[in-house]
Symmetry: C2
Subunit: 418 residues, 2 copies
């Protein structure tokens, strides 16, 4: 297993999210040595140092329109990442119609499906690949419901790293096609996500590959936090009152919080938005725990939104903190509302998200209806992946075309133009 | 049918590509009144006027990272397009591995699959939607093998326009899902592309919708030319010796030439790259005509690359001119080479293109092997659409994953890690 000392002056160390023990910065500490695998680590930064090079002025001058414009806030050496795939700086669209349907003050859609492998997971994979290269690995591995895997494979292919990918057999065809085209060795596991994760863990331990599992490796949430850095900057550092994101493993929502926390620590925003965590009612361990005031219990994985169909989340601590520390809320929506959100975002805003991607908007609609989000408030919805990832469910949401022979009179009889 | 006079000072008029007749600028002239439907028009510009506002300095200062940074070179009124989907400014990747496999001096990959609806066609659809709004239409229509249609539907949905789409029944599921999710009225025509086109023509004529058909409407190629403007700017106005693009209807390659011609006219580049037009051997009317020194003849539509499966191209004049005026070449590659190119671009560069998207690279490889492209030359390959558009063919190219129960010993017996 490679081990080289690197110089990353902006890092001060790790803190265990369970026992609060602080550790000095050492390469490749994945989880807390005292707490074991559940001892997820936070990465600590020297904000005074970072603020000297990263601030509103420096960003205004920066020509780099990718997540690497924030590299001073990432746990990586200061290198040139211009040969990576172009991750991040995805569009933040002002809602033109749904905002009025909801009757709230403002709504923005962050289309992270426009990342190079068509999901937000590229942000984490970019950092993972950079870290693997920094440490001298030649192979990177992860288990995933699909997007983390295809993203890992694509970014690794670009960097010349080999990949070994573990996916549950239910992974949609689009994501599977991506991994295979990117040249990954792909294992389709005849089991659920928990079994897939455990198989990857055993293989990674035995073969010594770089571990991109987002539940364990603290650099993943650091990559994902760049979505929040962008949202804030794209809104001129006046973020919306709420930021809505769908939740599976818990790593993404954890990262969303970290981005805003960083900007708050740097004095670049004056409050952290409330974070709305949304799950499907078919798989809602976080929502259930919040409602019952209890610890997370394993949940069935019974939703068509494959990316958030995670019955045993691997990163619960950062997810729970994102909502509690931001004064946010948890909400669950039925799959039917997810399909409806897919149609609404597509037809009314021109954004086509995968089921987990549009779940954020389904949650916002329900939160407004329940008074959790107030009429005078503003919201950013993160669309975490492209609808092209999962065409089967899109067709389920969208219905069918009119079939016609090439004859205008026959076509008119269908009533399509009536 | 709406008809309003607009002020577009940079336009001087139209010229028919057949009879060379010049017409003053009038809204909605689609084809030459004298030559009829085959009298495709060029749009003429006042380059002296344009050069005063659009030049290297102005571009260096421009914060707009979308195709609208070039709006002074588009046939549109000078409006604010920030509420459109973010079209263009897609990444131009330096090849890290395929360049060495080819043994040429330089290779770049322009990943236009990262447009909002995942294809280059967004460039044309953005201009079409802008023009339809400018003229006061409420409905826009086109026939398409798939990408123009899904792109038209997405960009129109964002702008609040209705869409009527005609696709041949063979359109891949991904593209179909997009159109339907974007709320278009979609007609799946039980016929080939020619019959689909003719049905759309009849319906558009009868109902008076805005006509987005790229073969007829000269603004389409104008939108598509922005890909060349970007390639040139991303290479600091030193474009590669060759630019390679796959060819179906002929409109895209026509646009590719127009972009370089504009920059040459403006004095911003000192030569126009040679343009390599690539088709599949299963549908190669342009290549056949070039080889035989004859006019285009209808060709079978027998390739898995659906976007370029066009037996009767609707924009032959601009396509033929692109190659002849640039000193370029025509080449055809078998479908097997297209699938191979898909794997190579994915596994060696991290770019996942649809069959027509990677056809450009397949053509470059063959052109190098045949000595058409020389070892000392440099090439840009345009990847015109995302591989997620057509997952079925990607899986055909990629092979299958290893299936395993969640048991490391069982998995190791497959030999995957050997």
């Amino acid at each position: 297993m490679p081990q080289t000392k690197s110089e990353i002056p902006q890092l001060t160390g790790y803190t265990c999210t369970l026992c609060r023990q602080h550790y000095p910065y050492l390469e490749e500490m994945l989880t807390c040595p005292q707490c074991g695998e559940t001892g997820i680590l936070d990465i600590d930064y020297d904000y005074d140092l970072i603020g000297r090079s990263l601030n509103r002025d420096s960003l205004r001058r920066d020509q780099d329109r990718s997540m690497w414009r924030y590299k001073a806030l990432l746990p990586l050496e200061d290198r040139d990442y211009s040969d990576f795939l172009r991750i991040g700086w995805t569009p933040l669209y002002r809602s033109l119609r749904l905002v009025d349907e909801l009757g709230i003050k403002g709504l923005y859609l962050k289309d992270d499906g426009l990342n190079p492998t068509a999901s937000l997971k590229d942000r984490a994979s970019g950092v993972a690949v950079a870290k693997a290269l920094e440490l001298g690995y030649d192979t990177i591995s992860c288990s995933s419901t699909g997007n983390a895997a295809s993203s890992c494979a694509g970014n690794a292919a670009r960097a010349g790293l080999k990949t070994v990918i573990f996916v549950p057999e239910r992974a949609p065809q689009g994501k599977l096609a991506q991994m295979l085209i990117f040249g990954a060795r792909v294992v389709s596991v005849l089991g659920d996500y928990r079994e897939t994760f455990n198989l990857s863990k055993a293989a990674i331990a035995k073969y010594g590959w770089y571990n991109r599992n987002a539940g364990i490796n603290p650099v993943m949430a650091e990559g994902k936090k760049t979505v929040s850095l962008e949202i804030a900057e794209q809104l001129d550092f006046q973020p919306t009152d709420w930021v809505a994101v769908s939740v599976g493993d818990g790593c993404t929502i954890g990262g969303v919080y970290l981005g805003f926390r960083d900007l708050y620590q740097l004095g670049m925003i004056d409050r952290i938005p409330r974070i709305l965590g949304i799950q499907s009612t078919g798989c809602s361990p976080f929502v259930d725990a919040a409602r019952d005031g209890a610890h997370l219990k394993p949940s069935p994985e019974n939703t068509l939104a494959d990316s958030i169909s995670v019955g045993v989340p691997r990163n619960p601590v950062k997810a729970l903190r994102a909502v509690s520390a931001s004064g946010g809320a948890w909400i669950a929506v039925p799959d039917q509302a997810i399909l409806e959100a897919m149609r609404d975002m597509g037809a009314k805003e021109g954004v086509f998200g995968e089921p987990a991607g549009v779940t954020s908007y389904a949650g916002v609609r329900q939160a407004v209806a329940q008074g959790v989000i107030q009429r005078h408030e503003t919201v950013t919805c993160i669309c975490s992946g492209s609808g092209l990832k999962d065409v089967a469910n899109a067709l389920k949401a969208a219905g069918n075309p009119i079939r016609s022979r090439p004859d205008l009179e026959e076509l008119e009889r269908t009533g399509l133009f009536a």
